[in-house]
């Protein structure tokens, strides 16, 4: 469904963030993109919806070439691609409902959206999504009155309001505690399965990637160095992605985290260590 060919990005500063990335994502697949900071994960997903302009290569969604689109064509392409952000990127001074409805902006005229006259179907869908993420009682709360996990749920609802075919998820858990991280990842993956959505999830946390993704792609210095099943992430592979480290120690923690109950214990231990 989504095909990247020869995707390359060189920033004006001269930094080569992506080199010649080829990737195919079929519908309904949850793909985790792992790699060290600065490996180009963020750049990669921003090149797909053109928040960052790729320097070379093509991005094709359902047979449609995105990297040459302009103006309203680009906007129509963007509305098929939902995006979820690391720092939630809610408009904090707007209410939860307004934030969710902002996912419909590309389907709504300017004045209609300015005066908040959204079609009844959109409003119904927004409430439905808020119920799905468990925030319907927060309808009128302002964005800045929510906790981190709640904000991310609103961010998810906003992305799904677009009725997207593809979700781009940028470090969804980086600002959350371990328990909330798991809940958010579980929610994203469940929603993808329910709606048969493809998703590309940038993630730092190898354990979470392994637990939730169908497929893992490892990025190092802008190039794909691993592409395969989560089970294939051996210490050697991790070394090729992240560099030398005692992966067995990390492995043990992850094994402990297999069961949900055990996971909570680890979470607690982690939180005690880093309050």
């Amino acid at each position: 469904m989504l095909t990247l060919k020869g995707l390359t990005k060189r920033y004006d500063t001269g930094d080569l963030a992506l080199r010649d990335v080829d990737l195919q994502v079929p519908a309904g697949q949850v793909l985790a993109l792992i790699g060290p900071s600065g490996a180009g994960k963020s750049t990669l997903i921003r090149c797909i919806n053109r928040l960052v302009e790729p320097s070379a290569g093509t991005v094709t969604l359902d047979g449609r070439e995105l990297s040459t689109l302009r103006g309203s064509d680009l906007r129509k392409a963007r509305r098929q691609i939902g995006m979820i952000f690391q720092n939630y990127a809610l408009v904090e001074r707007l209410s939860v409902m307004e934030n969710v409805l902002s996912g419909r902006l590309a389907y709504t005229g300017f004045w209609r959206s300015y005066f908040r006259r959204f079609p009844a179907d959109d409003v119904r869908q927004a409430v439905h999504l808020l119920e799905r993420v468990g925030l319907e009682s927060m309808l009128d709360k302002r964005g800045d009155a929510l906790s981190g996990g709640q904000k991310q749920r609103v961010g998810i609802a906003r992305a799904l309001m677009q009725n997207p075919k593809l979700l781009l998820v940028d470090e969804p858990t980086a600002s959350l505690d371990p328990k909330t991280s798991r809940q958010i990842m579980r929610l994203i993956c469940e929603l993808c399965r329910e709606q048969n959505l493809a998703a590309i999830i940038n993630i730092h946390d190898v354990a979470l990637a392994r637990q939730f993704a169908d497929r893992v792609v490892g990025l190092r210095e802008g190039a794909v160095v691993y592409d395969g099943a989560p089970e294939g992430l051996s210490p050697e592979v991790l070394t090729s992605i992240y560099g030398e480290e005692d992966w067995n120690a990390a492995q043990r923690v992850e094994d402990d985290a297999a069961g949900d109950e055990a996971a909570r214990d680890v979470d607690r231990a982690l939180m005690d260590g880093h309050p």
Binding site: M97, E98, R116, P119, A120, R124, V127, S137, L139
Partner: protein, 274 residues
């Protein structure tokens, strides 16, 4: 309250949703809207516009705008040069005097370091200095001290006191308490306390404010000449009243240029001290 939230949720489920109004009480919302409308109507009737006169003046307005393309620096060059020199010297003198006087007033007006009687006296000085427009003060000083730049310097210095002292006092009140206590705990004298605990915390902003005030004083020095307190204002006023817009444009361009230059310099200095 919770029933209101339930109602809104229920309505939204059925597809009806509007954002919460800014003013929750409907009667108050309507009263505010109606009040604004009534005010507009009242203002409309109190402004007595002579449209014929306005239409007539439009030519002059266009002539004024056009004169910016043909500013005349030369034919009144001498007056412009002396006026500008006077404005600049007045600005420097007044800013220095004003800031020197503002420091004790500002210290006195900071609630956290000064005793109550001193606080009230300093606050009163600030209130008086800030309330009256520079022009009003200039009129009084010209009456007392005669025409000339001295009245202008005193005016600008007086206005500077209110401006700097108020902001200085607010900065001092916003300082962090711990260093204040720590220095006091060393047994430092009052002056040492101010120098070591308060001054370092407020210095960068104080320098920024002083430069900002220098800028304001220059702009003000261009108007107080209208009432005889020296500076370029007199030249400007005369040229406008004579409809000699080319000279006015020259003076205004010079003012704009100097303000721009001073803003650039003060930006550099602020980055340097910050």
């Amino acid at each position: 309250m919770s029933s209101l939230a339930d109602n809104r949720l229920q309505a939204a489920r059925e597809g009806n949703w509007r954002p919460r109004p800014l003013v929750e009480r409907a009667w108050l919302r309507w009263a505010l809207n109606a009040g604004a409308l009534v005010y507009l109507v009242l203002v409309w009737f109190s402004v007595d516009v002579n449209w014929a006169r306005v239409a007539q003046g439009m030519d002059r307005g266009l002539a004024f705008l056009a004169s910016f393309l043909t500013p005349d620096f030369v034919s009144r060059g001498g007056e412009i040069a002396t006026g500008l020199a006077e404005s600049l010297t007045m600005t420097v003198t007044a800013t220095v005097i004003g800031i020197l006087l503002a420091i004790p007033v500002g210290l006195g007006a900071a609630r956290n370091i000064s005793p109550m009687p001193v606080y009230w006296v300093c606050r009163a000085v600030i209130a008086i200095s800030r309330t009256f427009q520079e022009i009003i003060i200039a009129i009084l000083f010209v009456t007392m001290f005669g025409f000339g730049p001295l009245a202008g310097v005193l005016t600008l210095a007086f206005a500077t006191i209110g401006f700097i002292a108020k902001l200085l006092a607010e900065d001092i009140e916003d300082t962090r308490k711990e260093p204040l206590e720590a220095i006091r705990a060393t047994g430092a004298s009052w002056w040492q306390w101010i120098h070591y605990a308060v001054q370092p915390q407020i210095m960068p902003r104080f320098i920024g404010l002083s430069l900002y005030r220098l800028d304001i004083n220059f702009r003000e020095s261009a108007v107080i000449g209208i009432v005889g307190a020296g500076g370029i204002g007199a030249t400007l006023n005369t040229s406008i009243n004579r409809y000699d817009y080319n000279t006015s444009a020259a003076v205004l361009l010079l003012i704009i240029g100097i303000v721009l230059a001073s803003e650039y310099v003060s930006g550099r200095v602020r980055r340097w001290v910050a």
